[in-house]
């Protein structure tokens, strides 16, 4: 038990050291409409426990098959919760709150201004490579959300991780 607590302590400290405090989203800036399907997609594709489903990451995502927010939830059990979607929104917007607001205010134009989009496309150094090739459902989902007209179908397709 002590070991667990120690580990938790270390993780928390490492999180502080590596990521800085989480910034609050700017009022009204992030499109909440359709966010749940975007959050599902990001969680399924990027939020595994060995990627962004790790505490201590600047972009930390919750998902039903990854890291859980509530102490009595476990990876692989139940659905992603509303609280988890809300936390994901804070994490995503908190990366670059002002820039986010600007991109959204400009109807989602030039989304590559956002580190999130550049990393997803692999345009910028990213340990996870280039998970969303240009024009694939994950990319379409993200762009449509930034343009405040979330393409739910693209998000649903993008969330599928099929066994070969």
């Amino acid at each position: 038990m002590t070991r667990v607590w120690l580990a938790a302590g270390w993780t928390a400290l490492a999180a502080l050291a590596c990521s800085g405090a989480e910034a609050a989203p700017q009022a009204g800036s992030p499109p909440r409409e359709g966010w749940a399907s975007v959050s599902e997609m990001l969680g399924a594709r990027c939020g595994s426990l060995d990627c962004h489903g790790q505490s201590g990451r600047p972009l930390r995502l919750f998902h039903n098959d990854g890291l859980r927010l509530a102490d009595d939830d476990a990876p692989g059990a139940g659905a992603t919760t509303t609280d988890e979607h809300a936390a994901n929104l804070r994490a995503v917007v908190g990366l670059e709150p002002e820039l986010f607001a600007r991109v959204v205010a400009e109807g989602g134009a030039a989304p590559e201004r956002l580190t999130l989009v550049r990393k997803a496309l692999g345009l910028e150094s990213h340990k996870g490579g280039a998970p969303f090739a240009l024009g694939t459902s994950g990319d379409v989902c993200l762009r449509s959300w930034l343009a405040t007209k979330t393409d739910e179908a693209a998000c649903a397709t993008g969330a599928q991780v099929e066994r070969p």
Partner: protein
Amino acid sequence: MTVSSVWPGLAVLLAVALAFGCDDPLRERTIVALGPEAAGVPPGPLHRAGQPCVVCHDGRSSAREFSVAGTVFVTADAPDPAPGVVVELVDADKRTFRAATNCAGNFFVEPADFAPRYPLFVALEAGRYRIEMDTPVQRDGSCASCHDDRTSRSSAGRVYLFGTPRPMDASGCP
């Protein structure tokens, strides 16, 4: 502010930077947290069942490098090893590799035999019985990184073969 009052602050910062810089102190901490070898089990194929093998077996120490390794238990709620289980690994290039668990429930794969391109899909087989992990592994070759012995916010619990206990053929195991 005097030098002597600044210094302790700097020292703490430096210590924190050294300890938590994003380089790889995590590896060191994780290894320390895993503790010493269990009494009576020498370092080798049967040791450290249930632990994240690749943390140590990562090619950066004397421990032989593994690409994928872990432990399979009979059920999720007890540390009883499941020997003779086939661990099926299918990578992004649709290459399939099969490893088998030993008497400790351990299996390990060397990069020379199979260095998967992620994502990596995993399934377990024992005779005609099969259980699949639905989501793929994205990066971490240690099953136990996500399958701690306790289910939690960040752990899916032990890698297990059966939902409810069934007899296992452990002939040949001590």
